[in-house]
């Protein structure tokens, strides 16, 4: 396809997200199928209240609205049931009850979020995020705390010389700098190649459904 944005929106600052949406939508359609590709609609996206605009179900699904349990198949076509019962019977029936301040969240938007959360596209994004971030955080926190604890527990070993005036402590300290820069780069690469485009596609998709 013409829009091979894989290496992702250049290093330049002024990357046009609204234009990219079209690209993402187009190239993403295999992964996250949508029913209508109503692409770039920058307007409501900026307002945090996109979902509060009394969600009118986009294009009543032609199929009969499968009332409960939005099937998280690729055919998500979020079956926003036109007549939603008060509690989305799908999951956790106890949950909805009390929210004094949140009238704006109609059951519709709740269901949209639930169905998106259950969709494989979202699960993929979350998995690629968590499988990188949790081990990485554990690794660098452990490595840092071990380094600090080593000063407290084994100051002797930290004193042994390595090269010239450098000793083990200095070497480990400089390695902390290096590992921080390295992890930053790895994380950014992971996010850029594994997550960014899918997340952006899902964002527009979700906002379309909420509109």
């Amino acid at each position: 396809m013409p829009q091979q944005q894989t290496s992702s929106p250049g290093q330049g600052q002024r990357f046009d997200w609204w234009a990219a949406q079209a690209a993402a939508t187009a190239s993403e359609s295999a992964a996250a199928p949508r029913r209508t590709a109503v692409p770039a609609q920058p307007g409501p996206a900026r307002t945090a209240d996109a979902q509060s605009a009394a969600a009118e179900p986009v294009a009543a699904p032609p199929a009969p609205p499968v009332p409960p349990a939005p099937p998280f198949a690729p055919s998500v076509a979020p079956a926003v049931p036109p007549v939603p019962t008060v509690a989305p019977a799908a999951v956790a029936p106890a949950a909805v009850a009390q929210e004094p301040t949140a009238q704006a969240d109609t059951p519709d938007s709740t269901q949209v979020y639930r169905s998106v959360q259950a969709s494989p596209a979202f699960q993929d994004i979350r998995r690629s995020y968590r499988t990188f971030v949790f081990p990485a955080c554990g690794a660098f926190l452990g490595w840092y705390l071990l380094y600090v604890a080593a000063e407290a527990v084994a100051p002797g070993a930290m004193r042994s010389p390595v090269a010239g005036p450098l000793n083990v402590a200095w070497l480990l300290g400089l390695l902390q700098f290096a590992s921080t820069f390295l992890l930053t780069w790895l994380y950014a690469r992971n996010a850029r190649t594994k997550r960014d485009r899918a997340a952006l596609g899902l964002r527009w998709d979700t906002q379309d459904q909420l509109r």
């Binding site: 929106p9 009238q103 979020y113 004193r159």
Partner: protein
């Protein structure tokens, strides 16, 4: 104001530092800094008055700009002068101290920056409120944010008082007092008139100056040593007065097991606290997207890391070229090591180059102080107006369009309250700082990080990642971290029972460490966990779905 402090000179100037008229140039440059920052404030502050402008600078900054602003917010004068000074005096242990500040950014980058940008609007409590829609959650999170920023603010202003007085060549208590008042008044002006937009631009300018100044000094230093950094280390060790021990761990934090444990506690607070600092979190709302938030964090990591590497070189250079004894003589905490090094690198005392460089570096340090206190004041006024006043006291500020719950304040009212809050918090910080002048700056900063890590981070991480987290868990987690942190400090040697204590005459301390982090951070996490398990109501799965989807995809982001 700088003129006032400049005029009341005539204490004993340090032997290497320039005397008399040499401070004249510094005073002029200080005045330039004040004029330029005020100019930015007046010019930028007129560009918009909506809540989005005041709290988030219109969300139109680029990642590069915000990266500079983030590092500007983070690299306080305590870092610029303090870390280099610590390295000059204690060698390796100073390096150890600086590393925690950098590594902490990985937590921000991976766990916090993007998700917070997507899920919130102006403050930390916004993220929690998306999922836990209760006033008491907002009140708790807003209150903890105010406490953290106030502690940090007092630290900066106490530091500013002694620092500016020192840079201007005076040491009188009166000069310190007037400096604190003047810095406080300036920061109130920046924030009330300019809001986030002016604050951000001031940070950008300051961070640029800071990095450029450090780079200049580092290049001069490396040239002086013909690029041989080992020689720099050796020479530093020679002139440190401690020989090879200068390059080994233990010079500062190694006296006893308690002091090493204390350092571990501090290290834990540093690495986990950054991600809970309200003034850092609110920076992510000044860029348009989560991706921009990530890229600005990457810029910040690069700038902060590069800066600390340069600070290590400068601290070693100060010891190598001036000597630890001389540095300590100029200021017991080593805070003037970098300006003194500038003087030497510029050609020595009496030379034009030396005096100009000294004045330049002093002015940069002054700009650093002003910028950081402005950022802190803004964050605490936002926490007060947006979370406590509008969110908890007057009903939720979110979702105004959806329906009317009581009479919610308009955003316009909220901004007015925020401006008054900035003035009030600034005034409170001035008063507290005047009474807290003898407290150690590094300790206060460490304490602010410890409170942020104990009260803010657990609740933030639980809400973002734990599907079963409940309202009670959130409230318990905030107070379960905040209260132990404060109580442990009250019964630590900082407050009583030692010569350096706040109340040296009495002794009611039973907690041996200065930094409470090692106890209070786990307690914050534990309290959130227990609160959730014992919660009478189950977690709201719908709200969590909304938070998760919005945080990871950016759907509906402000």
């Amino acid at each position: 104001m700088t003129a006032t402090t400049g005029v009341m000179t005539t204490a004993t100037p340090p032997p290497v530092a320039p005397t008399g008229q040499h401070h004249g140039l510094a005073v002029v440059l200080f005045a330039v800094v004040v004029l330029v920052t005020l100019g930015i404030t007046l010019w930028v502050g007129r560009q918009g008055n909506a809540a989005e402008d005041f709290y988030a600078g219109g969300r139109g900054f680029t990642p590069l700009q915000n990266g500079f602003a983030l590092s500007g917010d983070y690299l306080s004068a305590a870092s610029f002068l303090g870390v280099a000074g610590l390295i000059a005096l204690y060698g390796y242990d100073g390096v150890l101290y600086s590393i925690g500040f950098l590594v902490a950014w990985l937590v921000v980058l991976m766990l916090v920056a993007e998700l917070v940008r997507n899920a919130g609007r102006y403050t930390l409590a916004d993220v929690l409120a998306l999922r836990l829609r209760r006033r008491r959650v907002r009140a708790a999170a807003g209150g903890a944010s105010v406490v953290v920023t106030l502690l940090y603010l007092v630290a900066q202003m106490v530091g500013a008082g002694s620092l500016v007085a020192l840079l201007l060549g005076t040491d009188s208590a009166q000069a310190r007092t007037w400096t604190i008042i003047a810095v406080g008044a300036l920061m109130i002006v920046y924030v009330t008139i300019g809001g986030m937009r002016a604050t951000t631009w001031i940070q950008i300018v300051k961070a640029f100056l800071l990095i450029a100044g450090s780079l200049l000094l580092t290049v001069l230093l490396v040239v002086r040593f013909h690029g041989d950094l080992f020689e720099l280390m050796r020479r530093a060790a020679q002139h440190s007065g401690s020989g090879h021990r200068y390059l080994e761990p233990g010079l500062k934090y190694g006296a006893s097991f308690t002091s090493r444990l204390d350092f571990f506690s501090l290290g834990l607070a540093l690495v986990l606290g950054t991600a809970g600092l309200p003034h850092i979190l609110s920076r992510f709302y000044t860029v348009p997207t989560a991706r921009a938030a990530r890229r600005s964090t990457m810029w910040a990591i690069g700038l902060v890391g590069g800066f600390y590497l340069m600070a290590i070189a400068l601290g070693l250079g100060a010891t190598a070229l001036i000597g630890s004894a001389e540095v300590r003589h100029a200021n017991a905490a080593g805070n003037t090591a970098v300006p003194l090094l500038a003087l030497v690198l510029g050609g020595g005392n009496g030379s034009t180059g030396g005096v100009v460089l000294f004045a330049l570096i002093s002015a940069i340090a002054f700009a650093t102080i002003l910028a950081v206190v402005a950022g802190l004041t803004l964050a605490s006024s936002a926490a007060f107006a947006h979370d406590i006043w509008a969110g908890a006291w007057r009903g939720g500020p979110r979702r105004r369009r959806g329906g009317e719950v009581g009479e919610k304040p308009s955003e316009q009212q909220e901004v007015v309250v925020a401006r008054f809050a900035a003035a009030g918090i600034g005034a409170a910080a001035i008063v507290i700082s005047l009474y807290a002048q003898q407290l150690n700056v590094a300790f206060l900063v460490g304490l602010a990080f410890a409170v942020a890590a104990s009260a803010n981070l657990p609740v933030l991480l639980y809400s973002l990642f734990w599907s079963r987290f409940t309202v009670r868990g959130a409230v318990w987690s905030v107070y379960g971290g905040l209260v132990p942190a404060i109580v442990l400090v009250l019964f630590s040697p900082v407050v009583s029972g030692s010569k350096m204590a706040l109340f040296p005459g009495v002794d009611f301390h039973w907690f041996p460490l200065e930094n409470p982090g090692i106890v209070s951070i786990p307690l914050g996490f534990l309290a959130g966990w227990i609160g959730t398990l014992t919660s009478p109501e189950p977690a709201d799965a719908d709200r969590f779905a909304e938070l998760e989807v919005r945080a990871l995809t950016g759907a509906g982001a402000a």
